[in-house]
Amino acid sequence: MTTFRWLALIPASLLLAFQLGAGADGSFIALDGAAQPLKNAFNADVGKVRLLMYVSPTCGECLRGAKQGQQHVLATIGDPNLRIYVVWAPKNGGRQQDVGRVTQIVTDPRAAQYWDGHRVLTDAYDRMLALSGPCAGILMLYGKQARWEGAGPPRADYLEDAHAEEFHRPYPQYDPQRFAEKARELLTSTWSATSAP
C-alpha cells in the first residue's frame, strides 16, 4: 500500500473510533411549555443542593463542561443530598434529535436530563443572565432553600460559565475543582424547613 493510502487511513480510523466510542443513547424528558416536570422535581428536592447544567447539545465546550462536571464534580461528591438536572438547550443549532447521544456524558444516577424544546429555561436564563454568544454552558448551584415559584426558574446561588472568556461574559470561568468546592460548601450548610422563605 502506498504512503498516501496509509496516511488517508489515519483520519478515517480516527473518525470511526470516535463514532464507535460513543455509547448508547440515554433517556431524557422533553419539557412542556411550562417546564412542569423539571419544576416539580426542583421543588420536590427543596432541602437538597441542586446542580443545574444549562448546556447546548451541539456545542463542544458545553459538552466538555458537562463531562468535566461528571468527572470532577459529581464523581467526587457522593452525597445523596445533591441533585443534578441537565437541561439541554436549543441553542447553537441544537435539536431534539441531537440530545439522545449527548445524554451519555452525565452518567450520575442522581441526574435527570431534560430537553428544553419550548425554550422556557432557555429564554429565562438568557434574559436573566444577559447571555451573549450562541451557546449556553452555564453550571449553576441552588442552595437547599431555593424554590421555583414563578414561570421561569429562580436565580442561582452560584454559577460558573464555560464560555465566560470566549464570549466575554461577566461570570467566573468554569473551573470544575472550584465548582466542586462550592457544591461541598453548600452541602455542609445548615437548613431547616422553617427557615425556608
Partner: protein
C-alpha cells in the same frame, strides 16, 4: 531510496498541515463537529480551541515548508544526481491541505461574524 524519503517527508509535511488546519477549525463548528466526530471527538476538539491561533500558525509554517520542498527548483550541477521531483499525489495532498487551511480561517471569520450578529456559531 532518497527519492522515497523525499516524497514521504513532503507528504508528511502536507498531511500534518492538513491535520492541524482541520483541528484548528473543527473545534468551532459545533453541530458539524459532533456529526463528524461523535460526542467524544467533539469534546476532544473543544480542548483545541484555546490553541487555534497556534495551530493555524504552525500549519501555515508546515505548509510553506512543504510547498517549498515540493516546488523548489534544484540547480543542476555537473556530476550531481538529477533533482528528485515529488509525485503528483504529494502535490494533491499539499493543495488539499492549503484548501483546508483557508477553510479553517474562513470558518473562523464566519463564526465570529455570525456570532456577533447573534446567529449560530458554525
Amino acid at each position: 531510496m532518497a527519492m522515497r524519503l523525499f516524497q514521504t517527508s513532503s507528504l508528511l509535511g502536507a498531511a500534518s498541515a492538513a491535520v492541524t488546519s482541520t483541528a484548528a477549525s473543527i473545534c468551532c463548528i459545533g453541530p458539524l463537529a459532533i456529526a463528524l466526530l461523535g460526542v467524544n471527538g467533539a469534546i476532544l476538539a473543544a480542548a483545541f480551541k484555546p490553541y487555534r491561533v497556534y495551530l493555524l500558525s504552525g500549519s501555515l509554517v508546515l505548509l510553506a515548508g512543504a510547498f517549498w520542498s515540493a516546488y523548489r527548483g534544484t540547480p543542476r550541477r555537473d556530476g550531481a544526481a538529477c533533482s528528485v521531483r515529488p509525485r503528483r499525489s504529494t502535490r494533491i495532498v499539499l493543495w488539499v491541505a492549503l484548501g483546508l487551511w483557508i477553510g479553517a480561517v474562513v470558518i473562523q471569520y464566519l463564526a465570529n461574524r455570525l456570532w456577533l450578529k447573534g446567529g449560530v456559531v458554525l
